[in-house]
Subunit: 358 residues, 4 copies
C-alpha cells in the first residue's frame, strides 16, 4: 500500500508539492498499447490549476516528461515513468506550518508520523498536487479503456447546496456533461460557480459530491470478497485528498429501500442479459454485471481558508490563531472531477488485467 | 486482492456456503499474543445465525477449529489457520439458481466470471456466511487491539426508516450500545425489530446503516495516498457482502459544509493535542490524529426475499418468475454489526503492524 | 512474503509439524480446471514418509481433505483450501529442544524470532512436513500445466559423492527417470541407496543435488528484472527446507566458460526458433525462450543425526551434548525430488497466469 | 514482481538503456534516516562504466538526481525517487538487433513477449544499465544498515579460471577487499585483469563468481518458508542480469558433506550464542542466526562479444552471422560486485523493516 496501488498493474506515486518534481511509475502494462500525448495533455489540463476563476492562481503547465515505457507512440512493455517538474513554488508561504498545523490538513498527522522530518512545504507528499501523477496514469488508462469501448465520465452532482441533474443509472448521458464546467445542467453550473465565488469572497470554502459513471464494461470484472470492484475503486478513490465518502449505485439511499424495491430484476433481449433498474450500480457480489457502473464521492470543503482559525503551537503547546497564506482553491471539487475519472480508470484497468485465461 | 487482504498481515478467506468448511488463514501476526477462545466464541455468536427473531433460522454453531498458529493460548508466530465445518446445508434449495439468477445476488456475475463452474449452492464463495471467517480474524484482532487500549464498537445507526441515537464523534459511548440488540436507544431498537418483523411478514427485506467508532487509537497510523486509513478500511468493508456505501467522519454531509464549519480546530491540554470537533472522523491525510475514528456503512436490503421476482433463464434467455427459497435474514444489518467491527479491527491491526521502526 | 507466495496466484502454507493439521490455500486459480484426486494422491505419495528404506519411519498417509475451491472435479473459481490432519505425532520426542537447539535446525533462530512462543515440537512451522501442502498446490499445478503440454520432472543428480547421469539440456528424457527411485541410471540409484544406508548405520546423514527440467514451455513466460523466471523459481525453491543452492542452465559452471562457448546460437527450423545449445537453461533476460528450462538445487545433509553433537543450553548458556531423538531421514534429497517439481510447477503456473492480454 | 521488489519497502526500477532516463522509486523507508550523497556517488562510481581497462568505454557519470523523498539530508517519509538521465547513447549501433537477436541476450525473448513493441536499443529495459538505479536504492540501504553496524562487502571469488582467496566464513575480513579491484589477493587480481584483457583481445568474454558477506546482522531476520533470507536474497540477486547461480554458506558443496560435518555446533561465550563453524552461511530455517551471512553468485560471461556468432533473422527465419557492435565489458563480474552488495542491502533492509513489534 502506502503510495503504491494495484494488483496486476503497479502504480507508484512520488513527489512533494514543493520538491524537485512529482511523478509516477506504472508497471505491468502490456506492450503495444497506443499513447496519444496530446489527448493526455488535454486531460491533464482539466485538473491543472490556474485556469479557471474557481481555482488557485498557482499556474503550472503540468506537462509530463516521459522517461521510459513509451517508444514511438506505443507502450513498450517496460515500466512507464513520467515526471512533472515543480517550477512555481513559494515555499516561504509555508514556513510556519511545521509548528502550527492547519486545521483539516495532514500537517499535524505528518508531524506525528515523521517526527519532524516530513517535507512540510505545500503539504509535501500529502498535497493535492500529487493527484497530477495520478492523472497521468489514469489518463493513459482512460485511453486504453476507450479502445475497448469503455467510457468513464464524472460530473459535479453538487457543490455546497447546489445540485446538478443526476446521471440516469440506466443510460448515463456522459456526453451531456459540460467540457467547460463539469455539470449536466448549465444553470446548476452557474449557481455552483456563484456559490464558490461567494465562499471565496468570505475567505471560506465549499465541498461537493462527484458522480461518476462507467459505460461499456463487460460483465465479469472484479474478484470475490476483498477483490470486488467496490473495494478496488474505494481504495484508490480514498487516495484522493479530501474524499470522505464513497457510495455505489443507490449507496446510502439503499439502506432505506425495501428489498423488493432495491433488487434489480433481470431481463433478456436479443441474447443480452440486463437489469431493468440499476440500484446496484453495475456491481453484484463485487463483480460487474454489464450495466453502467455508478458511484458517488464526497469531497470535503478545502481546508485551506483565509479566515483566521484556531490552532496550536506544537512546540509551545499553546493556542495560536492561524491565517493560512498561499494560493488555494475555494472548492476543490471541480478540479477533482478528472481525478475521480482517472482513479476509476486505473482501478478498472487493473481489474481488467487481473483477469486470467489459462 | 481477490480473497486476500492486508499489507503486513495477510488474511486469506476460503470456503463456499455449502462446501465442506469455511475458514481463514492469518499470516504475519507476531508471536506471543494471547488468544482468549471463549471471548472469541462470544464474539462469533453475535454474528451467528439462528439466534434471533430477525435472523435466518439456519442454525450453526460457528465454532472454529484452530489448525495452527496458536499454542498454549498464545500465537506462536506461524500462520493462524481456523476452519468452521459446514454442517447444516440444504443444497437442494438452490438447485434452480444456476439457470435463474436471483436479483441482487452474485448468481449472474459468478456465472459470467466462472462460466458455470462456480459453486452456486447457497451463494458459494459469495455467501454472507463467508463473513464468519472474517469474524475469526477480526475477533482475534479485537482482542489484541484491546490489549493496547483500542476499543472498536458499532451500532445500527438506522434500519429502514428507523434511526438510533448517533454516537458522539468526540466521546463515543461505546459501552452504551446494547449487547442484546446493537442500538443505543432501546426504543429505536424495538422499532427496528418491529420494522424487520413487518418486512418479513410481507416477504420483503430491509437495509440499514451501521456506525462504528474506534477509541484509544494513537496518532500516526496509516500511510500516505493509497495507504491511508480510509483506503484500508473501505477496501475491507466493501468485502462484506451487501455494503454499498462507506463514509468517514462527516462523510457525505461534509460536502454541504463550509470549510470554516468542517475544519476541526486544534487545541492542547496537558501536553496532549486534540481537536475541538471531529468532522474528520479521526483521520487527516489518511493518518489517524488521535481522535476517535468514526465511519458509517450502508447495508442494502437482503436480496433474498420471498416475494416473486422477475428474472431470466440463462439457458433459454426468457423471463422467469423467481421465488427464492431457503432461509434468509429479512435484514442482514444487525448481524453485520460485529462483521463491521471485525473488518475495522483487521484493517487497524494491519496498519499498526505496517508501522516501522529502524 | 512469509508463508505466502505468488504474484497472480496466492499460495498460503500453514501448520506446524505436530499441530492439529497442516494445509494450504491457493487463490487466483481460474474456474473450470480439472482436478484428478487420484493422480494428486499418487504424487503426494512420492513425498510421503515411511514408504522407503531411506526415509523416516514416521508413516502418515498425507491424504488431503479439500475444504473448498473444487466442485465436481473442477476448480470453481473460489480459493482452494486443503488440509492434512496430523495423526502420528510424538511431541515428547522434542521436549528438550526448546532449551537445547539442534545444530543445523531452525530451533535457535525460531527461539530468537518468536521469543519462546514458537511451536518447537517437531520443528513446528519450520518442519520439512510443511512441504506436503506445497505438494498439494504443486501437484495440482502439475496437472494443469500437463494439460498445456508442459512437463516437469526432477531426478537425483547426486547423493553424497554418487552422481546420476545428467539430463540432456537439449532433449531431457524425463520419462527415463525411475519411478521407484528418482534416477536415470539404476546403478547410480543402487549406489546412492547404499550410501544412504551406510550413513544411517553410522548415525550420520547425506545431502544431494536435484536436477529438474521443464519441457513444453512457451517462449515469453516471466517478467523483466525481479519478475524473471530465475527470481520466481529461486524464491519458492529456497522455501523448501535444506535447500542451500540454486543454479540455472550451466549455472556456476558458466562462470568458467568463455562467452563464445556459453552463448547459445540461434537457429530456425520449420518456422520455429531454437538454440543449438542450452547453457542458458531456457531463460534469457528472465524470460523463457522455448527451450527446456533446466535448474539444479543443492540439498544439505539432514541436520537431524543420531550422533552426539555439541549444542548449548539457552537458559544456562553452557555447552550441552545433544543426541537428537525422533524419526528422521538419513537423506532428505530423494523425498525432496517431488517437492522441487511441485515448487517449479507453482512458480510456472504463477508466471503463466501473470501474463496479460488486453 | 515484474520490475518491483520488496515486502515492506517497495522498490520500482524503470528505464531503458537508450531512453530518456533510468531511475527508481523506493517507498516504505522511515523518515529521519540520513543520506550522504557524496558517499552514494562514491558507491555508484564503483559500478559506473568507462573507468577501468576491463570495462566498456561508454562513459556516463551515473549522477542521480533526487526528485523526492530526501529533504535537508534526511529521508522525509515520502517515497524516494531518483533518476539518471541517459546522455551518451548510440542507438544506431543496435539497429539490426530487432531482426537478428544476439545469442545470450534478451533480444529474442523480449521480441516474443512484447511482440515487436519492445525498446530494442541497447537492450532496452533488460540492459545491465538498469543496475544503476538498483545501486541508488542499494547504496542508500548500505548507509542505513551501516548505521546499525551491519557491513556488506563482496569480492571476485573467481574470474574465468583465476580464483581469489575466499572469505573466512567465521570472520570475513571485509576490509581486506581491494578498493581499486575487488579482490583480497592482489596477485589474483592481476591474473584476473590479464585474463580479461586476453579475452578482450580475442573478441571474447569471461564470467566470474562473486562472494559476498554480511557482518553485524542481528539474529532473527527473515520469515519462515517463502519469506526466508535465502528466498529474499535470491529473488533480488537473480534480478541482476547475467546471474545464473546463487548459493548460501557451503552451498552446492554442502550436498557432498555429511551431516556431522555440515551441522554447525552451537557454543556460548559471555552470554552470546554462536556457532563453531558457519556452513549455514548465517541462515537457519530462513532466519539469520547472528553469524556472518555468506553467499556466492555465478555471473555468466558477457554475451556481447566481438566474434562472429550464429543467429537467425526473425523475419526471414534463416541463419545469419551476427557481429555485435557497440561497447561492452569483456567481463561484467567486476562491475557487478557493487550491484551484488546493493541487492543484498535492499533485501536485508526489507527484511529488517518487515519485523514487527506490537
Amino acid at each position: 500500500m502506502s503510495s503504491t496501488y494495484g494488483e496486476h498493474l503497479k502504480l507508484s506515486i512520488f513527489g512533494q508539492s514543493h520538491g524537485a518534481a512529482i511523478g509516477m511509475t506504472l508497471d505491468g502494462i502490456p506492450a503495444g498499447l497506443p499513447v496519444d500525448m496530446e489527448q493526455l495533455q488535454h486531460f491533464l489540463n482539466r485538473r491543472a490549476p490556474g485556469r479557471q476563476d474557481f481555482s488557485t492562481p498557482r499556474r503550472e503547465a503540468d506537462r509530463p516528461e516521459f522517461l521510459s515505457g513509451v517508444v514511438g507512440g506505443y507502450t513498450c512493455g517496460a515500466p512507464i515513468a513520467a515526471v512533472i517538474p515543480n517550477t512555481n513554488t513559494h515555499s516561504g508561504d509555508y514556513a510556519n506550518l511545521k509548528d502550527c498545523p492547519r486545521p483539516g490538513h495532514a500537517d499535524y498527522t505528518a508531524q506525528v508520523k515523521y517526527g519532524g522530518y516530513q517535507d512540510a512545504a505545500g503539504g509535501g507528499h500529502f498535497s493535492g498536487r500529487l493527484t497530477a501523477p495520478m492523472c497521468i496514469a489514469g489518463g493513459l488508462c482512460l485511453q486504453w479503456l476507450a479502445g475497448k469501448g469503455i467510457a468513464i465520465a464524472a460530473h459535479l452532482a453538487s457543490v455546497g447546496n447546489v445540485a446538478d441533474t443526476p446521471l440516469d443509472p440506466m443510460t448515463p448521458a456522459l456526453s451531456a456533461i459540460g467540457t467547460d464546467f463539469p455539470v449536466i445542467d448549465p444553470a446548476a453550473g452557474h449557481a455552483m460557480r456563484r456559490a464558490i465565488a461567494d465562499a471565496k469572497t468570505h475567505g471560506d470554502s465549499l465541498g461537493g459530491v462527484i458522480e461518476c459513471a462507467v459505460t461499456g464494461l463487460p460483465a465479469g470484472l472484479g474478484e470475490p470478497i476483498f477483490g470486488g470492484m467496490e473495494s478496488r475503486l474505494a481504495a484508490i478513490l480514498y487516495g484522493i485528498p479530501a474524499v470522505k465518502g464513497v457510495e455505489f449505485g443507490a449507496g446510502f439511499a439503499a439502506a432505506k429501500m425495501l428489498g423488493s424495491q432495491h433488487n434489480d430484476p433481470f431481463a433478456a433481449e436479443n441474447g443480452r442479459i440486463y437489469t431493468l433498474t440499476n440500484h446496484a450500480g453495475g456491481i453484484l457480489g463485487g463483480i460487474t454485471n454489464g450495466m453502467p457502473l455508478l458511484f458517488r464521492v464526497a469531497v470535503k470543503p478545502t481546508p485551506s481558508i483565509s479566515l483566521s482559525q484556531q490552532s496550536v503551537s506544537l512546540t509551545r503547546l499553546e493556542p495560536t490563531a492561524l491565517v493560512v497564506k498561499g494560493r488555494h482553491d475555494p472548492c476543490i471539487a471541480p478540479r477533482a472531477v478528472p481525478v475521480v475519472e482517472a482513479a476509476a480508470a486505473i482501478a478498472i484497468m487493473d481489474a481488467y488485467l487481473a483477469q486470467t485465461k489459462f
